[in-house]
Amino acid sequence: MSVLVGTETRLCVAGITGSEGRFHTLNNRDYGTNVVSGVTPGKGGQDVEGIPVFNTFHAAAEQSGANTAMIFVPPPFAADSILEAADAGIETIIAITEGIPAHDELRVYTQIKRTPNIRLIGPNCPGVLSPGKANVGIIPASFFKEGNIGVMSRSGTLTYQIGNELAQKGFGNSSIVGLGGDPIPGTSFIDVLEMFENDDQTELIVMSGEIGGDAEELAAEYIGEHVTKPVVGYIAGFTAPPGKTMGHAGAIVSGSKGTAAAKAEALEAKGVRVGRTPTQVAEIAVEILGG
């Protein structure tokens, strides 16, 4: 198996008629993802390289059977688009958009949590790739092959770096899940830990965290109680000064809270080995799984 996206995925893309949205949608389709539709208000009835475009998510869900949405619209419209997809009953919503206002994110998060059976991944994330099955988002799929390591991360390019190091050691991946770099991600490490724990294909879990918030600390607690598979950690931002936002809106050390050292310590206290460089993460994986 794999998690979140796979052979059952029927993808509908919001923002499919924009240049970036179109480019990545077609990339996803070339990879083998079943892209069934797109949504652009006012462009219903058109198509993008044969992919039908609808005016609303409701029409897309009814007429194309979409069960997964990718949100590729600019920040002022993204929260609305996520809510629309949820209202149309689309179960998995993957939001790539960076720069959504924090208060919008908070309202969207709360509404999604109150809607049964709807999951939001992101925003400000690179998407989800299940090698050999489906790619939804902007992860460069050519670096990854099918395998037994599940990866989840708050950062895109760092995920590629770690994935590439694993690939060079001969490992592939069950799924690679980008959680996103914003302060209120729709899906947390804990959610994905549960998925990987229950996924037959996944034998080892790599989690890549960074400074800011307490998601890694909470994940450490969860791992201690509920996860039987080995977990290897990485935390970025040991050298980040307090009070500065390091690129991602969520990557900020506030006073003494959210430091990389505290996160690594919390994980190690629960038996998670934390690599100090991306290379070391791959080396630890080799030690655990055998080269």
């Binding site: 998060y109 509404q111 708050r154 390019t157 760092l158 770096q161 960074e210 500065k244 390091m246």
Partner: protein, 383 residues
């Protein structure tokens, strides 16, 4: 984005939160003119984005024009914990019977706004929180319901507010929440909230942080951005659409993607180097972004060597290589560079660089090797 005290108060006034009247001033003459309008006694307050102004001598009461002149001269240009005072706020003096504390914080861990109220105002709230946590009443607000009148009452009763002030303090908190939502703040803090001898509630200070991602729909607030409190390199980077954070070291860093750049800083530090900056050229770095980035990094005179760490996803390594060649033609950097290109079109990118034979440019195959090389180069060693 942090606001100055008076900017926060102007925001409060928009939402009918009572504040003492005042006028901003950038010179002694402006301060004198402001004081004439406000009347005496008045307060001369340093406007800096850091706490502890009072203790540092940045807040003084003036009984007459002579004292306004004296205090303004002393405070303008004063250094308060590394922040220079460029601006004053001349405010009517307030009579104070009691000092309370009120704040609303965007609590990312709880995924809700946290409202706090205490009768122990005027002090460092972190100290109150550490020593007598029961003195602070707190409550999380449902983001979809909003702050309810019963919640305001509950907080006021729990904080031990006098009976006659339950309603006025409740109104104050309600307006503070309206401000927090309408202006899309991440923090609104009032310390102290004062009670006057007439039992009126007023915000005597303000600390406001606005969400930078929401400024596009708050034109008035976007204008409050103050270039004078930004570092020159940070300004340059922002003008070029790059994310840059200045650090203390001498190794310039460029990468694509926030996580990879943070990781690069860490790896350089592990090899004994000190990064001079964080610079994220973006997920889809194009040639002009690279040129801009080189200009920004090299304008910091402390930089002795530069590390380029690119893992191409959307970013194409051949574009990065061409960007670097362009940057060398225009910015003519004089310090050595270490370039690590991996990912999309990496073979093409490395070939372009090898063919260009740029002076002082070294290539590395891995992130660790690149970090080791740049640390040696910054120390003046050869590689």
């Amino acid at each position: 984005m942090d606001l100055l005290e008076y900017q926060g108060k102007q925001l409060f006034a928009r939402h009918e939160i009572p504040v003492p009247s005042g006028i901003p001033a950038r010179t002694v003459d402006e301060a004198l003119a402001a004081a004439e309008k406000i009347g005496y006694p008045c307060v001369v307050k340093a406007q800096v984005k850091i706490g502890g102004r009072g203790k540092a001598g940045g807040v003084k009461v003036a009984a007459n024009a002579e004292e306004v002149r004296e205090h303004s001269e002393a405070i303008l240009g004063m250094d308060i914990k590394g922040f220079t005072v460029y601006e004053l706020w001349i405010e009517e003096a307030s009579e104070i019977e009691a000092e309370y504390y009120a704040a609303i914080v965007f609590d990312r861990s709880a995924r809700a706004a946290l409202v706090m109220l205490s009768t122990q105002g005027g002090m460092d709230i972190e100290q109150v929180s550490a020593e007598t946590p029961e003195a602070i009443a707190t409550l999380h607000v449902d983001p979809l319901l909003g702050f309810q009148p019963f919640e305001a009452r509950r907080l006021a009763f729990e904080a031990g507010i006098d009976a006659d002030l339950i309603r006025p303090i409740g109104d104050f908190l309600t307006r503070l929440y309206e401000t927090f939502i309408a202006e899309e703040a991440l923090l609104v803090e009032v310390n102290p909230v004062i009670i006057t001898p007439e039992r009126k509630v007023r915000a005597l200070d303000s600390k406001v942080t606005l969400d930078p991602s929401a400024l596009y729909r708050h034109e008035e607030n976007a204008k409050l951005r103050d270039p004078s409190d930004e570092d020159p390199q940070e300004q340059m980077a922002r003008d070029r659409g790059l994310t840059y954070v200045k650090l203390d070291g001498d190794i310039g860093i460029l990468g694509n993607g926030a996580g990879l750049v943070m990781s690069t800083l860490d790896v350089v530090a592990q090899y004994g180097g000190e990064p001079a900056n964080f610079l994220d050229a973006g997920g889809g770095s194009k040639a002009d972004a690279i040129t801009g980035a080189v200009e920004v990094i090299c304008s910091n005179e402390k930089v002795k060597a530069v590390l380029f760490n690119i893992f191409g996803g959307i970013t194409r390594c051949d574009e990065v290589a061409n960007g670097l060649i362009e940057a060398f033609a225009t910015a003519k950097p004089t310090v050595p560079f270490v370039v690590r290109l991996d990912g999309t079109n990496d073979v093409e990118g490395r070939k372009i660089l090898a063919d260009a034979k740029l002076p002082g440019v070294h290539t590395a195959a891995t992130m660790n090797e690149a970090a080791e090389m740049v640390v040696a180069l910054a120390k003046g060693e050869s590689v």
